[in-house]
Amino acid sequence: MTQAATNAQATSVVMAKNLVKHYGAFKALDDVSFELVPGSVTGLLGPNGAGKSTLLKTLLGFLPHSAGTMEVLGYSPTRAPLAARQRVGYMPENETWFPERTGLESVVFAGRLSGMPREQAFSRAYEVLDYLGMDEVRHRRVSEYSVGLKQKIKLGQAVVHGPRLLFLDEPMSGLDPRSRDEMMELLAGITRSGVAMVLSSHVLKDVETLCRDVLMMDRGKLLYSGPLHTLQKAQEGYYKLEVRNEDEPFMAALERLFPGVERTRLGYSVRLRDVEARRNLWLVAKEHGVQIRCLTPSRDSLEEAFLRLLGKGE
């Protein structure tokens, strides 16, 4: 089967199977396997040194992998990096721009580097800059732009050639709250149009808002790959408990009845295995004259899930 035929039949935008990358004796990617489907919006999470950079570099074809297989839009990034990158957009984290160019020229140049003839590159650049809400400012030099505008130009360069897959590296980095909301809206608009997206970020809130799936890495290993809601549901049996008028005896009773109960910022996190356990909680509260204000099934915030998974990884 030809590479083009494989690409036409590709049901996943990214496929990695038992991916390994060695830097000498150090394993930067350790048996990483996952699959991203078209239109998916995936957060790539992990602490520093988790292997996110290495994963992005291998997916972009910058680094050869040591073992395993991977495909980006049906192409092997190592054997056909240019074909893969033809339909991939990448927005880097660092402040970066083509020297001595205006915003418009930068987006046009990015399009031309992707093979677009000058007229088509100009026409697409105008459309993209309209979408990004960059009117007259597009004729100013990028080096004079604010951080927010520079981020927008980077996004414009990443999408000008019509990619089917976008790799975004900290797209909200350095933005004030208003620009952040604006960028989130722009990204959400792009994802609604069916472009698959991989968002690498340290800001879990952004990932929680934008992404439907998560790849969580630590020390080269993939700790979790799947839907965000599944990860957040993982605390089944745990409840968030908020009470009023609690006292020491109540707390002691709580600890005796429900081992592992934890104090949180707003109240307690308590594990209630069954209906019987929930009834016991109400009885204890009544006995100590404590008012239960809130008892809801506990869902991890992404931050909690992240920390829990990292804890398992250790």
Binding site: F62, P81, R85, Y90, P92, P99, G115, P117, V195
Partner: protein, 278 residues
């Protein structure tokens, strides 16, 4: 309607073949170089010896009869020797930033994340610099030799072809080597000013080193190989009068180009590895 407001529209227009995309890099880089104030001044400066030599070629008979000028024995070599100095300055002014400016603005990742290989990126940058240096170094020599053939009836067609081939071979080849050396230097840092000064130091001080070696070794044949200027001249001499005895200079120049090429490839690979940080 905004591009994403009516749903994703994949670009389905024409695309240049990947193998010719280095021309986009080359044309943009050439424009960037020509925007430099010093680059433009040096280009004007380079035109002066060319105009003088053309005038000498055209009015050779008049000047010889006046007897007040020592006419150059080989005006092409003479012109290329003078232009070599301007070329070295131009390489510092325009070439030092060829990769350094991309490193400074961290735009390398923008190039490399496109369907453009590092080799084609380097080809594009190199072609722009080579083209610019060629404008002052060997293209005027070609024009001069053609003019000489026009005004001098003793100049045969075969002689003209031989000179032109020698100029293209030595000039084009020497410029390719200089281009690779300057690009390799440019890949080492992100301050084009310092890189330019390093190149000028290397170019002019190598002549001092060569002189010292000549003194120390009592005019050994290899003393010229330490000087860029002498290597260029030696290569031109060899191209005009090829002989085994004079082949040292072009070979050493090629060797320098090869080593600089290895350094450049190593630097590009390293830059590619460090291009993305997540």
């Amino acid at each position: 309607m905004g591009i994403y407001k009516e749903g994703y529209r994949e670009y389905s227009g024409p695309l240049y073949p990947a193998r010719t995309r280095f021309l986009v890099v080359a044309s943009e880089e050439l424009l960037r170089m020509l925007r430099g104030k010093w680059t433009r001044r040096l280009l004007y400066l380079a035109s002066v010896p060319f105009i003088v030599m053309v005038a000498i070629a055209l009015f050779k008979g008049v000047l010889a009869s006046a007897g007040s000028f020592n006419l150059p024995v080989n005006p092409i070599i003479q012109l290329m020797s003078i232009e070599a100095t301007v070329m070295a300055l131009l390489a510092a002014s325009a070439g030092a930033g060829v990769i350094a400016e991309d490193r400074k603005s961290r735009s390398l990742v923008l190039y490399l994340s496109r369907p453009l290989s590092p080799a084609r990126y380097a080809w594009g940058k190199g072609l722009a610099l080579w083209g610019l240096l060629s404008i002052v170094f060997w293209v005027p020599a070609l024009v001069l030799s053609w003019l000489q053939a026009l005004v001098d009836p003793s100049f045969s067609g075969m002689a003209l072809l031989k000179i032109m081939a020698a100029v293209v071979l030595s000039g084009g080849g020497a410029m390719a080597v200089i281009t690779v050396v300057v690009m390799a230097l440019s890949s080492l840092g992100n301050r084009s000013g310092y890189i330019g000064m390093a190149w000028i130091a290397l170019y002019f001080f190598s002549d001092v080193v060569s002189h010292a070696v000549r003194q120390a070794t009592n005019h050994a044949f290899y003393s010229d190989w330490f000087s860029f200027q002498r290597l260029l001249k030696g290569t031109m001499d060899w191209a005009l009068n090829p002989s085994l005895d004079a082949i040292g200079a072009p070979l050493v120049l090629l060797g320098i180009g090869f080593l600089a090429g290895v350094l450049l490839v190593w630097r590009l690979r390293r830059m590619m590895r460090t291009a993305v940080s997540a």
